[in-house]
């Protein structure tokens, strides 16, 4: 009982503390690749502190949805993060839900963010929400299928069971070919869901291109801080999911302090590696036209489907 409580606290602290670092790391990598020196990797922390101190401005035309959304978004994303094994294969909330709950907890946040974008009644917010709806509805099937492909090989939809089984395995992966397809699909989904470059540009405020930034244009002060923090957290949840499901190397399988230390160090190395990879990918590709995004997400869907087909036809 005490163990479980301690684990919840530890994982919450690790997730909340690491999320802004990953955002800063990706920005740093991108700046370096553009031959700029770039802001320090801890800049997002300073931004968050500054925003929390500022007074928020709320439009008089908005309803309660506008002020409630940052809290709902933040809480649902954090709850999703507690369903993913981070540095130990046990998850604090594994009794409360499986991988499907994770997908829909993230979807709750997206849903409220879309409502909040519409709430203020500005043209940009509505446009951002409509675009986000396109992206979200197309990523969901691809994400579900790629997750099912993994769940089938592990024989469970519970993330801690999946990771625990893979971590104790001898070989490199349980099943390389379907997992590679699911991995490729999940990377595309992660890029689309977290608003990264081929789909959305996190550094733009140009009305023609922005999706996420358009939805949160009306937010300021502590509300903006919560939304930004939640966005960083969502990115971290995706990175954690990819790192630990496909490469659970070094993850702790028991509550001993030595194993936990190794697990935490391995976790930080893996997630930072993925963040650097995302920074490089963002620099390599130009943003896609909005109507080409469907092609990319369609490809993710086909790849995830193939992962399942591998399982059913060749292992059947």
């Amino acid at each position: 009982m005490l163990d479980a409580f301690l684990l919840i606290v530890m994982q919450t602290v690790v997730l909340l503390a690491t999320a802004p670092l990953m955002v800063g790391l990706i920005r740093k990598v991108k700046a370096r690749l553009q031959c700029r020196r770039g802001a320090s990797v801890v800049q997002p922390y300073a931004d968050l502190i500054k925003l929390f101190r500022k007074q928020p401005v709320v439009s008089s035309t908005t309803s309660w949805i506008f002020t409630a959304t940052p809290y709902i978004l933040f809480a649902s994303t954090l709850a999703a993060g507690l369903l993913v094994p981070v540095f130990i294969s046990r998850t604090p909330l594994s009794f409360a839900g499986n991988i499907i709950a994770l997908v829909y907890l993230l979807a709750v946040g997206t849903f409220f963010l879309m409502l909040a974008g519409l709430d203020a009644g500005s043209a940009f917010g509505g446009m951002g929400s409509s675009r986000e709806a396109i992206v979200a509805s197309l990523t969901e099937p691809a994400m579900m299928l790629s997750i099912f492909a993994i769940a089938l090989t592990a024989g469970s939809t519970n993330l801690s069971t999946i990771v625990h089984k893979t971590a104790l395995l001898e070989g490199i992966m349980t099943d390389p070919s379907p997992h590679l397809m699911a991995f490729a699909a999940l990377v595309i989904v992660a890029i689309a869901e977290t608003g990264r470059v081929p789909v959305d540009n996190p550094a733009t405020h140009l009305e023609l291109t922005m999706i996420h930034e358009a939805m949160i244009l009306e937010y300021s002060g502590r509300y903006l801080a919560l939304v930004e923090w939640a966005a960083g957290l969502k990115l971290l949840v995706f990175l954690t999911l990819i790192a630990n499901v496909f490469a659970p190397w070094g993850i702790a399988t028991s509550m001993e302090s030595a194993a936990l230390g190794v697990g935490l160090a391995a976790y930080l190395v893996k997630v930072s590696g993925l963040a650097v990879l995302i920074g490089i990918l963002e620099s390599m590709f130009a943003k896609l036209r909005l109507f080409r995004v469907t092609d990319l997400l369609g490809a993710a869907f086909i790849l995830a489907l193939l992962g399942l087909v591998f399982f059913y036809v060749l292992r059947g």
Partner: protein, 219 residues
């Protein structure tokens, strides 16, 4: 006995080949297609090297080295030269658009899996998936040749097909005799050269590399 981690890596290599196939189908820019083909050839060479290491058959090493030299360096150079000389950089009009192509390719992979599924348990194969993936790559290459209009894309699709055949030969029979492989490499190189010259002639004659123009050749 072959260690299971080795066969897992061969499976992983084959799956990477299939993944690059899908990227080639989804890619519109011709030069990016050439780069992806070169990448696919590198994956193929790595997979072949791994098979050579696991089975101890030495001439597959030679085939892998030739794959790197010819398919990952020489042929992409020739194709880049051809693209440079042409005034088209991307596939604009397609017979079948990208999402539909991807769906069809997905179905082709399923067909390949269903066909090979009864065969796989009969032989003593190194891996479970390589033969199925090799057939899938051949089918996707064949489909891309039909679905794309530009001569350059059709050439790449032909070479992708050849990669699929090579993977199949290495995975199913641990490579053909060296003489046959050398002959195949020479054929592929000559085919790429001839297709390159032919594409240039097409450009000169019609101001376009759309192979549909060839149906107009009448007495």
């Amino acid at each position: 006995m072959i260690p299971s981690i080795g066969s897992q890596l061969v499976d992983l290599g084959s799956a990477l080949l299939l993944l690059t196939c899908f990227a080639i189908v989804a890619q519109r820019r011709l030069s990016a297609c050439v780069d992806l083909f070169a990448l696919q050839s590198v994956f193929l060479a790595l997979t072949a090297t791994l098979v050579a290491f696991l089975t101890g058959i030495h001439h597959i090493y030679i085939a892998a080295a030739l794959t790197i030299v010819i398919k990952a360096i020489v042929i992409p150079r020739i194709l880049k030269k051809v693209i440079e000389r042409l005034n088209v950089s991307r596939e604009l009009v397609m017979h079948i658009n990208v999402p539909a192509s991807l769906l069809i390719c997905g179905m082709l992979v399923m067909v390949a899996f269903l066909i090979t599924q009864p065969i796989i348990p009969l032989g003593h194969l190194l891996t479970r998936d390589s033969l199925a993936i090799a057939l899938a790559i051949v089918l996707i290459g064949f489909f891309t040749m039909i679905a794309r209009q530009k001569a350059v894309t059709q050439m790449i699709a032909f070479l992708v097909m050849e990669n699929g055949l090579f993977l199949g030969a290495t995975a199913a029979t641990y490579g053909m005799p060296l003489v046959v492989e050398l002959g195949v490499f020479f054929d592929v190189l000559v085919a790429a050269l001839i297709a390159g010259i032919y594409t240039n002639r097409l450009q000169d004659a019609f101001d376009s590399v759309d192979t549909a123009h060839l149906s107009e050749l009448k007495e």
